[in-house]
């Protein structure tokens, strides 16, 4: 059981910690630069995350998307307004309940979403590059560990 003792060396801790932190910064930076150079140069990383949330929850209400992104309703309103002006998002008035507006992507928005998703696919692919099925399982287990740990903290 010695090797299960989970005593991580100082060097391993430093390496993993720095890697986790740096990797995220790096991804954000590349996303920003890639967008700047693409057809979608009027879009920021923050905006693309809103577009991502709207796609995942297609035709969901403003409040639902706001909760998803942990933004206030007011902030969401303004963000959606600019994305609508830029032509990526459409508001749809709900037929049943005339208070609610549902959110969806325009074709331009869907195009952007797919481009962004492709980039994420590359990231994940590089992450597990050259690994066999068992090794991929190890990675998945690590991510599950981390998610559990974080969920435990927030109860």
């Amino acid at each position: 059981m010695a090797e299960e003792k989970n005593n991580i060396s100082k060097a391993d801790f430093r390496f993993m910690n720095d890697a986790l932190v740096d990797v995220y910064d790096h991804i954000m930076r590349i996303e920003e630069e890639t967008l700047r150079k693409s057809t979608f140069r009027d879009i920021s990383v923050k905006e693309i995350h809103l577009i991502h949330a709207i796609t995942l929850h297609d035709h969901k209400t403003s409040t639902e998307v706001a909760n998803e992104l942990r933004l206030t309703k007011g902030t969401l309103t303004t963000n959606v307004k600019t994305l609508e002006r830029k032509g990526y998002v459409k508001r749809i008035n709900d037929e049943q309940d005339h208070r609610v507006t549902r959110l969806t992507l325009t074709n331009k928005g869907k195009l952007l979403y797919r481009a962004h998703d492709a980039f994420h696919r590359q990231i994940v692919k590089s992450f597990i590059k050259g690994m066999d099925g068992n090794e991929v399982k190890v990675i998945k287990r690590a991510l599950i560990n981390l998610e559990d740990f974080l969920s435990d903290i927030t109860q």
Copy 2:
């Protein structure tokens, strides 16, 4: 070589992608909440990252820290000013070159840094929980893969 073919399933991609994205959001949120409830409730996550950068580069110059964090010198000046006012950071005038100011943490700042570092240590520990040496190596390899991939993109 079949298992080296690196054909990730749609489900695996989704899982890993969402995990990588969610985990980061989650960590930021917990950091924010933890700070809010701690003795350091006057500090934001952004500020703690500046404190982190200052510690890693103890007694480095303002310009060096600004480059590290990819902020303009002007932004760094204002951020350092508020952290100085709050008592976490000290400016030191360089004896050799009277133009440069070097940055360092006060005792209060060091205390905060250590608390934050402890949280990161927990995160890394949870990440590799229950894994043996070989499995840890797999994780490290994945992180190196990812760092290499990202470096390649930026040349």
